[in-house]
């Protein structure tokens, strides 16, 4: 193929990637979108393979087969609740690939159609692609470790923030030193291996240092951020290889991660900077102490079943606890039983319920909850006033009325207005606080009944009681 034909094929692949993401604008078109993404990727692969020297082909096919098989197995086996760590692990691969490609490009620019020795402009871009890739790699590994709960084995993976004095200063100094070596690489008369490797090593260390102070609970924002980074790394490599497909695909991914981080921070009413500076997760669970004096009314699963079967309308509010307990199928069964008794059942989804964006939607989708019973926050918040029962399952922060009180750490965060329902029932295992580490006044209201226990167990008991 001529260079023009290759560029055109890459352009078509880029358009497929854009259309793939456009497909996600609605569940109906989403699968077609994913398919378009696959087609785009296949086109990119076939085009690239067609232009390389035949010598390396066998090895490449073996590598693709090996990697592809592993990927397919992971994709088949992974649980939906493990998505955050899976995504983190995958980002690390993109980051590492970016670094490796950069090494290969420094070694032999000609393979990429870049003059040897590499011109300064390409070096600058390569430098950016490399360090972003390196940070993406090591940062994602740490994020993966924290999410997979590997903290028991290795302190760096501790889900509690790992903080020490002068941490941010150290990071700043390291970043400057890294940039210094980057400049040295940029100016080097030869290939510049020494500054290149030094810079890359520092970037790997930086990736670790940036992520360890961030608590496990803040990981979703971090993952999106790393997602964004992996995109920018790809774009950076695209710049140095003059490959517009890499630039376009990288920018799409980069924007996506950045926007998701923004949405999450917004919905948690925290600044992105405060998340990145870390140390937040430390207080988790501690704030529940002052709760002793206030009284709480608690009831059994049977009580809950009785009240709900006499209600006209029930709104279920799922939260992180539901995901932890994997109670989604039980909930679906319960809803069906209630519907059979003539109770109208709806689900209210807070945008940051759970631990990743859209977490609850995936969970309910997995349980095959009918589409038309699931409502986004804006659409259902007006309905709580007319609901007989609001059943909160393992949610806490997203229904915490403190969000309306000036001075509270979550002041201004939009919440689901469950307190407006005639009766509020809350299922969780204890009086412990949620992600934000705050006590929840909702639990102490007169119309609130706590149903303690693991979400799955409790819901299954309710189902039994409904028979």
């Amino acid at each position: 193929m001529s260079a023009n034909q290759v560029a055109l094929a890459y352009l078509v692949a880029s358009v497929f990637f854009i259309l793939a993401l456009k497909g996600l604008s609605s569940p109906e078109t989403a699968r077609r979108g994913n398919l378009l993404g696959m087609i785009g990727m296949a086109l990119a692969l076939v085009t690239t393979i067609s232009i390389i020297a035949a010598g390396g082909l066998v090895l490449i096919f073996v590598a693709m087969l090996a990697g592809g098989t592993i990927g397919a197995i992971v994709a088949r086996r992974v649980q939906m609740t493990q998505m955050p760590e899976t995504v983190a692990a995958m980002h690390s691969l993109v980051g590492m690939a970016a670094v490796l490609i950069a090494v290969a490009a420094v070694n032999n620019p000609a393979a990429f159609g870049v003059p040897d020795p590499m011109p300064a402009g390409n070096r600058l871009e390569l430098f950016i692609g490399t360090f972003v890739g390196a940070i993406t790699f090591s940062g994602s590994v740490i994020a993966f470790g924290k999410l997979a709960g590997l903290g028991r084995h290795f302190r760096l993976f501790s889900s509690a923030p790992v903080v020490f004095k002068g941490q941010h200063w150290l990071n700043l100094v390291l970043a400057l030193v890294m940039i210094g070596f980057g400049v040295a690489f940029f100016l080097a008369p030869d290939k510049g291996w020494t500054p290149f490797w030094t810079m890359t090593a520092i970037a790997f260390v930086l990736g670790v240092l940036i992520i360890i102070p961030i608590g496990g609970a803040d990981m979703p924002v971090v993952i999106s951020m790393l997602n964004s980074y992996s995109g920018w790394a790809a774009a950076g490599i695209g710049f140095s290889l003059n490959n517009s497909m890499l630039i376009i695909a990288g920018s799409l991914v980069g924007s996506s991660g950045a926007i998701l981080s923004y949405i999450m921070c917004k919905a948690m009413n925290r600044s992105f900077i405060s998340v990145i500076l870390g140390g937040f997760g430390a207080a988790e669970g501690a704030a529940a102490a002052g709760a002793g004096q206030k009284t709480v009314r608690s009831g059994s699963a049977d009580d809950a079943a009785f009240i709900m079967s006499n209600a006209e309308s029930v709104i279920i509010v799922p939260g992180y606890g539901l995901a932890v307990a994997r109670a989604q199928h039980a909930v679906k069964e319960m809803a069906q039983k209630l519907a059979a008794k003539g109770v109208s059942v709806r689900y209210a989804i807070h945008p940051v319920a759970g631990r990743m964006p859209g977490h609850m939607n995936v969970l309910l989708a997995e349980a095959e909850v009918p589409y038309d019973q699931v409502f986004e926050m804006e659409d259902i918040n007006g309905e709580f006033g007319t609901a007989d029962v609001a059943l909160v399952l393992g949610a806490n922060d997203v229904v915490n009325p403190l969000a309306h009180e000036k001075g509270s750490p979550i002041y201004g965060m939009p919440i689901l207005e469950v307190a407006k329902a005639r009766t509020v029932m809350v299922n969780k295992r204890s009086m412990a606080s949620g992600y934000a580490g705050l006590d929840n006044p909702l639990f102490y209201m007169d119309k609130t009944m706590m149903v303690f226990g693991d979400a799955k167990k409790v819901v299954e008991e309710i189902v039994k009681a409904l028979d």
């Binding site: 854009i18 993401l21 996600l24 604008s25 569940p27 109906e28 699968r31 994913n34 993404g37 696959m38 785009g40 990727m41 990119a44 393979i49 390389i52 020297a53 010598g55 390396g56 090895l59 490449i60 590598a63 693709m64 087969l65 990697g67 592809g68 990927g71 992971v74 994709a75 899976t86 691969l93 993109v94 690939a97 970016a98 490796l100 490609i101 090494v103 290969a104 070694n107 393979a111 990429f112 402009g121 871009e125 993952i223 997602n227 790394a233 790809a234 710049f239 890499l246 376009i248 695909a249 920018s251 799409l252 924007s255 996506s256 991660g257 949405i263 859209g358 939607n361 095959e368 009918p370």
Partner: protein, 102 residues
Amino acid sequence: MTGTVDPTVINLVVFVLAVFVGYHVIWNVTPALHTPLMSLTNAISSVIIVGAILAAGVAALDLGSAIGVFAVALASINVAGGFLVTQRMLEMFKKKSKAGKE
């Protein structure tokens, strides 16, 4: 006007436009699909495999091409894993909307 336009500047034009496209396309994604969005973008970012193949595909075997082959293997995990996991998730949403129509 002196000289010609560097490829870098042209790349910058493409980059700026692509960021605008990304911005709009992503804001149009429905919140219910934000988790699949993460895995799909993850899959798309593995297009970096193109660079890995170029590195691996030189005629003579050397350090560079060995590194390239390794990068191809890593990125392939992502290519296959990313799209397939997305597909698995989206299959669930399909069942869901069907169930709604029953």
